[in-house]
Amino acid sequence: MNKIPQKLCVLLLISLFWGCLDSDDVGDNFVTFEGKVISTYLEENPEIFSDFTEMLIKVEAFELLKSYGKYTCFIPTNEAVQNYYTQRNTSLENLTKKELKELVFYHLIDGEKNKSKNYFSRDFIIGSIDTQNMVGRYIYTSFEPQSASWIVNNSATIIQSDMELSNGVVHVVDKVLEGNNDLLPDMLKANKRFSIFSAALEATGLREIMLLIDDPSYVAPLTLPNGSPITDREHYPKSKVYGFTILAESDSIMKLREGITDLDGLRQFAKEVYPDYTDEDETSQGNSLNRFVAYHIIPAKIRSNRFVLTYGYISEFEWFDSQRKQEICYDGRYTIEQYHIPIAGDALIHFQKGNIINTDRNVFMENLTSSDEVIRILTMESDLDCQNGILHSLNNMLVYDKYVIETVLHRRIRMDFSTFLPELINNDVIAYANKYNQWHRIIPDDYCAKLKFKEKRPKVYMKYMAPNVHPYLHGDEIMSYGFSDVTFTIGPVPPGTYEVRFGYHSSPGTRGITQIYLDGVPCGVPLDMRLTNTAADIGWEIDYHTVSLMGESGGNPDDPYGYENDKSLRNRNFMKAPDSYTGTVFYQNTDNRLYTARQANNDTRYIVKRNHNHLGGTMEMRFVQMLDGDCLYDYVEFMPVDLIEDEDTH
């Protein structure tokens, strides 16, 4: 009862403070103070911030907030700090400097150092903030509709947001934020709502693999492969940490959906859904419980807003022409989807936008509600973050059954090459924003389990490049340079006969000629990636329909949508790139707001093999340079051959 008046008091004080400063009101919710830095703001309001200010001073961080920068700060009120001390029976004096540092820096995001920005509430989404805080952890935000306020890490409420100062922005929170430093299995165990899943994790021995934190043998090289110095823009991953995601059903969900009340109940359920997994040893991959649990674990730490990357999809760009959007996105085929590879060897998890899992329904077209019988991540119990992983709660039982294998995954499976490289996700090699000019990361050899090549300085090396203006799947790219010999372990995909395709971007000046192998067998003659799409050997034509919508000439009026050209390209083992995504290059440079990757002259799908009989599991795709040059790896496609006849252009 006492807390409410105190909170109100704080709000009142903040509001008073807001009102009395000379400011430019630039919006509904935030105010600009000219020249004032964060430290001054905190100092001037000791009645609200003195406790946290003391902490900042003690760890010598206060000076930081006096200097130029772009700091996003979640500052707990004095009440919040005192509550923290009380709950932990501690005080400022009792905390060690190390503990205090961890605590204080957890509240600060350094935008300047991370080439990002100040994060205002308008930038918040349900999920994580793009940039890590100063202890290298992500901060998660969610929206509480009843109070219309943002919640941080599912615990603290932002009671005043968007205090813009000359070196950053302050959000006032009613609770001290803490990072959970447990290992993922321990965090799961501590959460009593997941006791059955936790018990299954222990019974199967799968908790053991999630006790890893980092690989101490990895040492980042001192110079770049080409002899250039390490820069902020371009460097090796600084470390090699492990990360895991658990998708788990809570005890209550297990009971609600399948009447499961204990581990034995789950064992029985697993036997029913995985009848072929008969090994009695629960630590064996051939055991049904092991299979059930392993299908819930992804060896990458994936935040809830990163399961389905939407960057580049035409439906997500406001600038993209609305008529074309209507034509392409609403034909019942268009969807925004992504795949994740769990530790259950041969299995795959399909996600659609909105974190809807393993359904053959088109989530983009159907406005699914909570009453729909689909599997989804429960927003209010997701992003439970700890030192080496993250936990998301599911609303339903997740299984890799016949329906998933034969119905859900009997589709064109398009996977970005980064899907196969969880190490890049865990070590922040993969960037999500449009950071092309600031974000090149060298991929060391022997860094990723599913990528084999030998770095040979100064010519042969590989690189990840952040999303950029080009129409690439998810906007990003992986490159190799020089006389490289690169093998990706791709898939897994269910058993079947597939047409296997490779998505790439040509470049006359820099690319090489590449022999592609699938499972050790050469596929066709080497691919000359120097040829742009209009070269006679590819024979791409822009479609008349799109060009005429722009009021320009071009394309073949007898083949307005380019279907004949599609057939002709396939004859030569090529396909146009998909029309489901685009690149900002068409907006920024040419104002071609109707263009998708299908209209791009350098982006192509190459048919690696037409009838690949696949017994299930992964494949090895090898790229051997015949002519010295670089190679861009965007995505692979596995197209069941029986679906080719009716394939869309997305």
């Binding site: 300085r457 100064p458 006389f483 000629i513």
Partner: protein, 829 residues
């Protein structure tokens, strides 16, 4: 005062650089710990006071550096004790027995090689001034400090040096600075050089913090004097030879050396005013990006180029970065086969048997271009990437895997001042020679093809290198590269229609002489010859594409689709067997296989008696020329209302290309089949109302234009169903209801609601070796008729690169088509 100044100077010089790399204060502590020692002696006094460095002290005195080492500078010196000198006197290749036998030049070399300007600790020496690892480092020694006067008998044996016969010449063992090769702990770690690698290449076992220059151990490091740092070597620091010198001196590899000598060239470097002699620099013809040498003094192009100059002291593989001169980062490496290995290779039954046989068993007869390929293939740009721990992933510079076993294949190692030498007991021939390209590269009568597949022309070698693919490569020797009917010239006026005779001109480029296609007389003026590379390349690509089959020659199969898509008829793969393209058939030219090279690593090579020429007659002309096709042809050319047409043929003209003749509108760069029903079958279809007669459509529509269009559309869709993607032949590939796309699209739902929208209707084809049967989408069947010889008719629609065919110079695209007469119409809906 001087001492303190020096102390400060050293500190100031070193401190900022040191700070760049070591933020850890431990390093500073370590440094500071040395301070008390500094107040002792200068370098000279220190060495003198040791009592066991008398030779080195004499060296300093004799070379005039006493003052420098006593009073000035901040220096780094790698010195050796008297014991090391004594060991040298007892055992050295030059036979020097005492200090007194040292020449002044030798003394200078010895001292200046071991002196560095500025004072450096070993840790600091691992980095350059900008903080990057420095694997190699230059010293005081300058190239002109030692200018050897070389006896003519020791000069490389080639015409460039034979002019000095009997003379001794001043010859720098190249003009670039010599470098120390530093195997220091930070460098070994930074470059991933394992202790096992190090032990293998130097023969020295190193402890954790051991530091070496070349393979000489530093036994006492970071000895602090007032004017610099001293590092004591276990042996005399002698400059090792560079790679070229080592190869020249090692009698075990003299065959390799004699071949390498072909590329040696004396480049005038400077003029000695003292003696009046020219000083030369010994260089090797090479194609490196940083310091190439491709022509001699007269501008004549060398007949062959190594990858890089093996005598280049400051060798570097790539251009410098802003942070580093690349010679600091790495050095070269060479695999040098022993004489025994070279003899085994170049012998009957040896791996180089083809070359041996082609050139009468004498290396002297082997052309320099081939020798260059062989020698260069033993050169590697990177020492770091040539260490034993990298052997498993080692590739040669053409991208082929190299198989090398360090225990079995390597006889000896030597760390030269510009690279590492592995003396090996096997030859690593360029693998291009093992592929189907091999015979072309070896034989001297296939120079045109050899050039054509190379970088200057079609770059076909990058395809033919694909070692796990299987190719059948048909080669036309130079003398048979004649009588090629230029397809582009068929769009010219009759007097300019030409046959080409290919040749190589004096500049080493391929040209073509033109002859009137009808009279055979040489064309005149600018029409007489083609020299423009792009035009030559365009026709050579056309030829190479149709002379390459991907896959095997199968028993019973005669027709194959080549790499470019053109059909090729091959009646067997033995000498004397017939090989013809569509153009050869048109011109009644029969080509034979005249030589075969089977069992190349990725297929077989066949020499032919002429050029395989692709068809030049269009589909339109082929149909028009046969009355048996007249009904089908009539329907294809029917006029629609309001000037439209059936959209089967087009006189394609754009601002930059044009078809040589009417072409099938929807055919592109690919191979196709057209099934032409007999005239009777067409008539039957009209009579039975399956298709409308275009002459009667207007009447049938009763004036309703919409109905009229529908009937025309129906007819067009019917006709297009007879045009199939992919060429299938009688005596082609065996097929069992293989499905191919036709040109009729299901773009309206009512056409076939059970078939996907906007997809092309398929046709299924069975070919049992003698007959072709077709299974239509509607469920009917038809057979290819063989009785009238109207099957396997080959046509080609050619598009050239200009809106006016008389101005065209290149083939833009081709559609290759086979036409068969069939006994019934084909229906899809």
């Amino acid at each position: 005062m001087v001492n303190i100044k020096n102390l400060i100077k050293i500190a100031l010089l070193s401190l900022p650089i040191y700070c760049l790399f070591f933020s850890c204060s431990d390093k500073f502590d370590e440094w500071e710990n040395h301070e008390p020692d500094w107040l002792g002696e200068n370098i000279y006094d220190y060495l003198k006071s040791r009592g066991d460095c008398n030779y080195y002290v004499r060296l300093i005195e004799d070379c005039g550096y006493k003052e420098t080492m006593q009073r000035t500078g901040s220096n780094t010196l790698f010195f050796s004790s008297d014991a090391a000198f004594e060991r040298f006197f007892q055992n050295n290749a030059s036979g020097i027995k005492s200090y007194e036998e040292f020449s002044d030049v030798f003394k200078n070399m010895l001292l200046r090689l071991s002196m560095l300007n500025n004072a450096y600790l070993i840790d600091r020496l691992s980095y350059n001034e900008k903080g990057s690892l420095a694997f190699r480092r230059t010293t005081y020694l300058q190239p002109t400090d030692t200018i050897p006067l070389v006896n003519w008998s020791e000069l490389p044996k080639n015409p460039y040096f034979s002019k000095f016969s009997g003379e001794d010449i001043f010859l720098l063992q190249d003009h670039t600075q010599w470098t120390l090769v530093q195997f220091f702990p930070s460098i070994l770690k930074g470059k991933n050089i394992s202790d096992e690698d190090f032990a293998f290449i130097t023969g020295e076992i190193r402890e954790e913090n051991d530091a070496f220059l070349y393979n000489s151990r530093i036994i006492a490091r970071d000895i602090v004097c007032k004017n610099g740092y001293l590092h004591e070597m276990d042996e005399l620091l002698l400059p090792p030879d560079n790679m070229a010198q080592y190869i020249r001196k090692n009698k075990e590899v003299s065959i390799f050396n004699s071949l390498m000598d072909r590329f040696a060239y004396p480049v005038p470097y400077s003029f000695s005013e003292l003696t009046g002699d020219t000083i030369f620099s010994l260089r090797y013809f090479n194609s490196s990006t940083v310091m190439p040498l491709t022509t001699d003094g007269s501008g004549k192009l060398s007949e062959g180029l190594l990858y890089y100059d093996p005598g280049w002291n400051k060798f570097q593989a790539t251009v410098n970065s802003p942070q580093q001169e690349m010679w600091e980062t790495d050095m070269g490496a060479m695999l040098v086969p022993t004489n025994e290995a070279m003899q085994a290779y170049f012998s009957p039954g040896g791996e180089g048997e083809e070359i041996y046989n082609a050139f009468g068993g004498s290396w002297d007869n082997v052309p320099t271009s081939i020798v260059a390929d062989i020698i260069a293939n033993h050169q590697r740009y990177s020492f770091i990437n040539s260490l034993p721990s990298r052997f498993s992933s080692m590739k040669d510079e053409a991208g082929y895997d190299i198989t090398i076993n360090k225990d079995e294949d390597i006889k000896e190692t030597f760390i030269a001042r510009n690279g590492l030498i592995y003396v090996v007991n096997k030859v690593f021939p360029p693998l291009d020679y093992r592929t189907v390209m091999g015979p072309v590269k070896v034989d001297q009568d296939t120079r045109i093809f050899n050039l054509a597949i190379g970088d200057s022309y079609c770059q076909f070698k990058y395809y033919l290198r694909s070692i796990q693919n299987l190719f059948q490569f048909f080669v036309t020797p130079d003398l048979s590269m004649i009588d090629y009917l230029d397809p582009v010239s068929l769009g010219y006026t009759d007097d300019k229609k030409a046959r080409w005779r290919f040749a190589i001109n004096e500049s080493g480029n391929i040209i073509a002489r033109r002859y009137n296609a009808i009279t055979g007389e040489r064309l005149t003026g600018s029409d007489s010859i083609v020299t423009e590379k792009n035009i030559i390349k365009n026709r050579l690509e056309d030829i190479l594409n149709q002379q390459t089959i991907i896959g095997t020659i199968n028993h019973g199969q005669e027709y194959y689709i080549t790499k470019g898509g053109a059909p090729l008829r091959v009646k067997g793969n033995s000498v004397g067997n017939l090989v013809v393209g569509g153009g050869n058939i048109e011109q009644d030219k029969e080509l034979q296989i005249i030589k075969t090279y089977e069992n190349k690593s990725n297929g077989s090579t066949y020499y032919l008696s002429g050029i395989v020429e692709s068809a030049t007659v269009s589909v339109y002309r082929t149909l028009a020329n046969h009355t048996e096709f007249s009904e089908f042809f009539r329907l294809c050319n029917a006029s629609w209302p309001e000037g439209a047409d059936m959209d089967i043929f087009t006189n394609l003209t754009t601002d930059r290309k044009r078809a040589l003749d009417s072409k099938v509108k929807f055919f592109d760069l690919f191979n196709y089949t057209i099934y032409v029903p007999t005239n009777q079958a067409i008539q039957n279809a009209i009579t039975s109302g399956i298709i409308p007669d275009p002459d009667k459509i207007s009447e049938l529509a009763g004036g309703d234009l919409e109905i009229e269009y529908e009937l025309y559309d129906k007819l067009r869709r019917f006709l297009r169903y007879h045009f199939q993607d992919n060429s299938v032949f009688i005596k082609g590939e065996i097929l069992n209801k293989a499905e191919y796309k036709t040109a009729t699209i299901n773009n309206k739902e009512h056409y076939d609601p059970n078939y996907p929208l906007n997809k092309f209707f398929p046709i299924r084809v069975t070919h049992d070796g003698d007959n072709i049967t077709l299974y239509t989408h509607k469920g009917g069947t038809a057979k290819v008729i063989k009785d009238n010889n109207l099957y396997n008719l080959i046509a080609r629609d050619i598009v050239v690169n200009h809106s006016s065919t008389i101005n065209a110079t290149q083939i833009e695209t081709s559609s290759w088509v086979v036409i068969h007469q069939v006994d019934d119409v084909l229906l899809c809906e």
